[in-house]
């Protein structure tokens, strides 16, 4: 079917539509490393000056980049680990075990999965204030974990559903406890799912902007997203080359993960979590 038609019209239209995006992406990288005359788009020389934020303090009165990067890393890894751990057990329970009100929990999970979490931000803000977790990294981590969970459990349940139940049946027949069957027989089967959720929640935590912005605005709990946005807002004369260098630094782990796990990611995002 592909050979009976000419391809160049399609390529042309696709190319035109992709041009703005390509321009943005190319200059995002090029501008981070080059000097330019004002009013020109053509680079006139190589420089690492835009990356000065890595070795000298920008006079923003904010925490330094490495502290912020560490925060972001702690935030993303902790969230990813906790979400994955909880989803591993909860997904198994919903997929395989029979317990009271199972249908209710499952329907609830689907509703939560579709529910737009960002509407809850005001109530969460007030709850964290009441609990005394406002403006702490741990508070943001807990909230992010809770909001990410329905999606994680849903994906994990899907992976458990594909494991042939003969495996478990055999284990149970041989006299192993259900717990041991899960740990020794089923878990190795769902390792791709485990990886998928780890990666997905890590990326989601790494990119998160609204939660840290609202729930931890202080300088102790800054993450790269809020750091970068504050930098953009602070500057009276927009120094886009600096912003782009910060952005490139920020996006580096994302791009690396994307390059390695591209196909896997496309499948997960097919389930969709943002607009």
């Amino acid at each position: 079917m592909r050979h009976n038609y000419r391809n160049w019209p399609i390529l042309l239209v696709l190319g035109i539509f992709s041009t703005p995006l390509l321009i943005m992406l190319v200059f995002q990288v090029v501008d981070s490393f080059t000097l330019k005359q004002p009013g020109s788009l053509i680079p006139s020389g190589f420089t690492l000056e835009h990356f000065r934020f890595l070795w000298e303090e920008l006079d923003t009165g904010r925490a330094g980049i490495w502290r912020v990067t560490l925060n972001t890393f702690i935030f993303a890894t902790t969230t990813a680990t906790v979400v994955t751990a909880i989803a591993l057990t909860a997904g198994y329970a919903l997929s395989r075990l029979n317990f009271p009100a199972r249908g209710f929990f499952l329907a609830g999970l689907i509703v939560l999965h579709a529910f737009p979490t960002v509407t809850l931000i005001i109530a969460i803000f007030l709850i964290l204030q009441i609990l005394g977790l406002y403006d702490t990294l741990i508070g943001v981590i807990i909230v992010k974990t809770a909001l990410e969970l329905p999606f994680g459990i849903w994906i994990m349940k899907g992976f458990y559903d594909t494991v042939p139940w003969e495996i478990e049946m055999a284990g149970v027949q041989d006299g192993a406890s259900r717990l041991r069957v899960w740990w020794q027989l089923v878990l190795p089967q769902v390792q791709p799912g485990l990886m998928a959720i780890l990666i997905f929640s890590f990326l989601s935590g790494w990119s998160e902007f609204i939660l840290p912005l609202v729930l931890a605005p202080g300088s102790d709990a800054q993450v790269l997203a809020t750091y970068m946005q504050a930098l953009i807002l602070d500057d009276t004369k927009a120094d886009f080359d600096l912003f782009k260098a910060v952005g490139l630094f920020y996006a580096l782990p994302v791009v690396v993960i994307y390059v390695i796990f591209q196909n896997k990611l496309m499948n997960i995002y097919g389930g969709g979590s943002k607009g």
Partner: protein, 433 residues
Amino acid sequence: MKRMNWLGLGFLAPALLVIALFFLAPVIMTGFFAFTNMSTATGITGGDYMLNKSALRALGDAGLPDATLEKLEDAGYAVDEKGLAALAAQIDQETADEFARLHGGESFATRRDVERALKDLRQNRIRKTRDRKAAAELFKRSVLNERFGTEAEFRAALTAGGIAPRDHDQITAQAYTGWVWTTENVELLFTLPSTWRYAANTAIYVAFTLSFNVGFGLFLAISTFYLPAAQAATFRAIWFLPRILPPVLYVLMWKWFTWDTGFLSTVTGWFGMSPKNWMLDSPTHAWTTIVLINGFVGASMGMILFASAIRAIPASMLHASEVDGANRWQQVRYIILPQLRWPILFTTAYQTLSLLTSFEYILLATDGGPGRATEVWALAAYHTALNNYGGNLQYGLGAAFALVLVIIGILASLFYLRLFNFRQLVGKPLIEG
């Protein structure tokens, strides 16, 4: 086999706990908060009782008798422990001791009386008039501008000040600095003209972005389907990037593209146009940018879902159509599109809800500007409750804004549950206990 039940619930318990605390509780609490007047001024955890000048004025307007107001303002002077301690700190301990010996426990009606008493001290007269005035002020006992931790304390102070008991309730209510229950927020939502504006903005935003997402997602999925695998993969990878990049960086790229020092202005500058901010110079441009920013992200979801649906079409059908002489347009119209009905419906349903409530990209790009032109409902909730220029954050009103979205969210989620027939997914587990 009873044990299985407990294993299942045990496995579920951590998830239930976290979700209940930080997912379900916020849903319910939004409902509560929406009916309070919580704000920065009232605080969150509760309040004190304090009367100040403006509260007094409000009470006067509300018809409290002038005599009572005067009493509230000037409850007289009393020589008590607190005042004496302050006096000792300000002058010295001996003066305070002597004053206590002569006048301890007495009350004076006016400041002049107190000053006279201070002047008449035998050993430790306060000579300077200014010092006496300041010292006398230390003994002023008024309900005004004093903080009371509990209602009982405040009422006791009113009684001590000789305020008629029938006025107590009114004064106490006015003096309370904490939040109270109210339905004002809901009334405000219906009466403020700006809320209708936000609703209209939201409708514009959802309609245009959704059309772009679905339309362009379809275009991407179908066009890449006809390309050789390598080219198709390249385009899909490019169009997937906006979704995977952190929103702050993604919006930064758009800012560079549209702002007055950025790409568009530089290029138009070559043709003699003066640089301008293409994102914020007019509402139309702002909306265009917003729709494109969201659309470039949203299109990839449609692209992925539609592409996998197209791949599921049996190749024989497509071959057959070509043998029958169908051109490409006919192939798309009569074979591919009918197969995409459910994915399109799903994407539309899912994205309607998420666009209705999302404000991240708008917040980052235009922050509702220029003016309030791109302020959508969810962003208005955020601005009202969590970030406004006035400084007084109105949590209650913001929660009322959010409550509308929460209710829509719940209803829509339940509706999707029916629409996409999730009952089969809720079927019995393969191995049951």
